[in-house]
């Protein structure tokens, strides 16, 4: 019984890292698999990284974020390290926001997600443009970023509910 409880505890403590790895391995793009909802693609990795580094930094290690970024790069086929750096920049901004925020509110965290997304994507595109020969549609990426920002409150609510139920915070 204690083994079951321990494994349950390990699973729930590392759920963010598990989801992050699954999403990175399967290159989840939101609702992109449904043809009619193809425009609603968003970056779930960024939402997870931002949320967990901001709210529960002990539940998502930076090493996991770094590794998930590498996995994402390999699966997508872009030069190694780009996603990792982008996620780490997002973690840095998220961590900074956590340090300077006195009272945590969903709306303020949602708004501060804009500069965090901007800087991490800026690093991402800057490196892709300078370190690879890949070209892509900026409009699609802007749309992806916009929906990442837009869907943040939904996942904020889901993760918050999950943590409230599990840890009774």
């Amino acid at each position: 019984m204690s083994i079951l409880n321990t494994s349950k505890e390990i699973f729930f403590n590392n759920i963010a890292a598990i989801i992050l790895y699954i999403v990175s391995f399967s290159t989840f793009q939101g609702l992109k698999e449904i043809p009619d909802l193809v425009i609603f693609s968003f970056n779930l990795q960024m939402i997870i990284v931002y949320y967990y580094v901001l709210k529960f930094p002990d539940h998502l290690g930076l090493g996991h974020i770094f590794l998930a970024g590498l996995v994402n790069d390999v699966v997508i086929g872009i030069p190694l390290g780009i996603s990792s750096l982008s996620y780490l920049v997002l973690s840095f901004l998220s961590s900074y926001i956590r340090e300077v925020t006195l009272r945590s509110k969903m709306t303020s965290e949602w708004i501060t997600f804009i500069p965090a997304l901007f800087f991490s994507n800026f690093i991402y595109y800057l490196i892709i443009n300078n370190f690879s020969h890949l070209s892509f549609y900026y409009v699609d990426l802007l749309r992806n970023t916009f929906f990442t920002f837009l869907f943040f409150p939904i996942f904020y609510f889901i993760f918050n509910t999950f943590h409230t139920k599990i840890y009774k915070i």
């Binding site: 992109k32 590498l70 086929g77 190694l80 340090e99 990426l141």
Partner: protein, 285 residues
């Protein structure tokens, strides 16, 4: 003023260097590591290239397992959709068979006539295309990303797959090999923005470059002459220029969309490809 600057520096330093209770690495260390990896990947050191090939093989196989539930859900959705269209498709196919039967008789007549004319001119039979080294492979991962439209296949350098080989699905070109590992390879689809193929348009001597648009099956032609107007229902073939692909491989066709403007789509739907053929037999050597 100085206090607020100090606060900012303290917060930045804290965010970069402070390790949490369960953190093993500092953010600063991991950022430096990422930059190092990007640089090493960029300069293509042999050791890094071979390491990357091994990592790729492992990650691809794990990715196949992880994406299985998603694939299953997608498959169920496809089965459901297919079921609704199958009756309509059956009717269309019956009509098409009738039409093809009629055409077959015409073709037989033309073939016989052609053979007799060749014999009369002493030209001999047409030479078959060089079909050597065709490798049959299975698509193991077809996840799309906003940056690269590509497929992963279960054959690699072990099966003599090399970069630049042409990939066919149902006799139509769908892409080229851009990355090879020992057990797996990556196919850059013709629909990707980075795909550029020299082509020629049916019933004309106009050369152009066929480029992907990063969308499902839509393509575009670049470097067309200014006065040239593309007509619908024209097949676009590879021109074989620059020795990249053999000439005369059908790749795409033009069509009229709902707004009555001419667009181009690939003949094969790369997203539907499951068994593909990788070949160098179609290359000009």
């Amino acid at each position: 003023m100085a206090d607020s600057r100090d606060d900012f520096i303290i917060a930045v330093r804290y965010a970069l260097l402070k390790k949490g209770a369960k953190q093993k690495f500092s953010l600063f260390f991991l950022i430096i590591l990422s930059v190092l990896i990007i640089t090493l990947d960029r300069i293509s050191v042999p050791f890094i290239t071979s390491s990357r090939a091994i990592i790729n093989d492992i990650v691809y196989h794990v990715a196949v397992v992880v994406s299985t539930p998603g694939k299953f859900v997608k498959y169920i959705g496809q089965v459901k959709t297919n079921h609704f269209y199958i009756v309509e498709e059956n009717e269309n196919l019956k009509k098409e068979i009738k039409l093809l039967k009629l055409n077959r008789y015409d073709n037989l007549f033309l073939k016989t006539e052609n053979e007799s004319l060749k014999q009369a001119l002493k030209l001999g039979g047409a030479k078959n295309r060089d079909q050597k080294s065709s490798v049959r492979a299975r698509v193991i991962l077809d996840q799309e990303s906003p940056y690269l439209k590509s497929l992963l296949i279960n054959k690699g350098t072990k099966n003599n797959i090399i970069k630049g080989m042409a990939v066919f699905s149902k006799s139509y070109l769908i892409g080229t090999i851009v990355e090879t590992n020992y057990f797996t390879s990556r196919v850059l689809l013709i629909t990707d923005l980075n795909s550029k193929i020299p082509v020629v348009i049916q019933d004309s001597d106009v050369n152009a470059i066929l480029v992907g648009m990063g969308k499902k099956t839509e393509l575009d032609l670049e470097y067309l002459p200014n006065e040239f107007a593309l007509e619908p229902n024209k097949i676009i073939y590879t021109s074989g220029k620059a020795g990249f692909l053999a000439a005369g491989l059908p790749v795409a066709e033009s069509y009229l969309n709902k707004k009555n403007t001419v667009h181009i789509k690939s003949l094969a739907d790369p997203r539907q490809a499951s068994i593909i053929h990788v070949t160098e037999g179609q290359f000009n050597k």
